[in-house]
């Protein structure tokens, strides 16, 4: 067992698709600091992808063309080691959780994979909707080499 060395990190970006690449890069760097991660490539990729999907939705559906900001907080918790990702936006639209349905993967679809992927890739997904103040909290356990 090793101990996590990461300090909490806040990333604030303009709500554009291009800026999301900074979020990916920073999450990669953040996880790279953690010692003893099992299958680090896979774990990192899955977290980066989930956050990418979440933030893409905020840009496309939340701000829907309006300008704004997205704040992503990263934090480690112990026992078991896990990464807690908080995402906040001031977008006017909210995600309608009740109206959501899982996609049918048997027919190839062009839409509707994002939320489903986030659920598959994360251990916990929590959403506190409020127009102008949406909050997401994603938790992912970081498997440690024995």
């Amino acid at each position: 067992m090793t101990t996590a060395t990461g300090k909490p990190l806040q990333i604030v970006i303009p709500a554009t698709l291009e800026a999301l690449r900074q979020v990916s890069a920073k999450i990669e760097d953040y996880i790279a600091q953690i010692d003893g991660v099992e299958e680090p490539e896979i774990v990192t990729y899955n977290i980066v992808l989930a956050v990418q999907e979440l933030c893409t939705n905020i840009v496309k559906h939340g701000y829907a063309g309006e300008s704004g900001k997205i704040a992503v907080d990263l934090e480690l918790a112990e026992a078991p080691l896990r990464l807690i990702i908080s995402v906040r936006d001031n977008a006017p639209h909210i995600f309608d959780k009740a109206g959501w349905a899982a996609p049918n993967l048997d027919e190839p679809k062009e839409h509707g994979l994002g939320i489903w992927l986030i659920q598959q890739l994360m251990d916990e997904v929590d959403y506190q909707p409020a127009p102008g103040n949406n909050r997401w909290r994603l938790v992912k356990q970081i498997p440690q080499r024995a």
């Binding site: 896979i42 990418q52 893409t56 190839p108």
Partner: protein, 108 residues
């Protein structure tokens, strides 16, 4: 015995995105593919072997291409990503069932 022999020449276009195929770059990729469809290309190989990242917006471009190529009587095959992480996402989303998956770009 009567045996008829006819020939068909077919054109396959191999498109290889070598950077992140995500919500930001997907429109560029889509534009490129639209131009090929407009030219009459119907057989595509999308070579993901060097694509480091693929999100649902990138996947949507692939599905949209598949539908349009099939409508035109063609098909889209995917060359497996080198990244195991990307491979796993294609399994998770069952893209490996929807597309023919190739280990490498076919030698002509």
């Amino acid at each position: 015995m009567e045996i008829t022999v006819t020939e068909q020449l077919s054109r396959t276009v191999v498109v290889a995105p070598k950077e992140r195929l995500d919500a930001f770059s997907a429109p560029q990729m889509r534009e490129r593919l639209e131009a090929l469809l407009a030219e009459g290309v119907t057989q595509f190989v999308i070579d993901l072997s060097q694509t480091p990242f693929l999100d649902s917006a990138g996947m949507a471009v692939l599905v949209s291409l598949l539908k349009r190529a099939r409508q035109a009587g063609g098909d889209v095959k995917l060359v497996k990503p080198a990244s195991e992480a990307v491979q796993r996402i294609l399994l998770l989303t069952r893209f490996d069932k929807v597309f023919d998956m190739l280990d490498s770009v076919p030698a002509n």
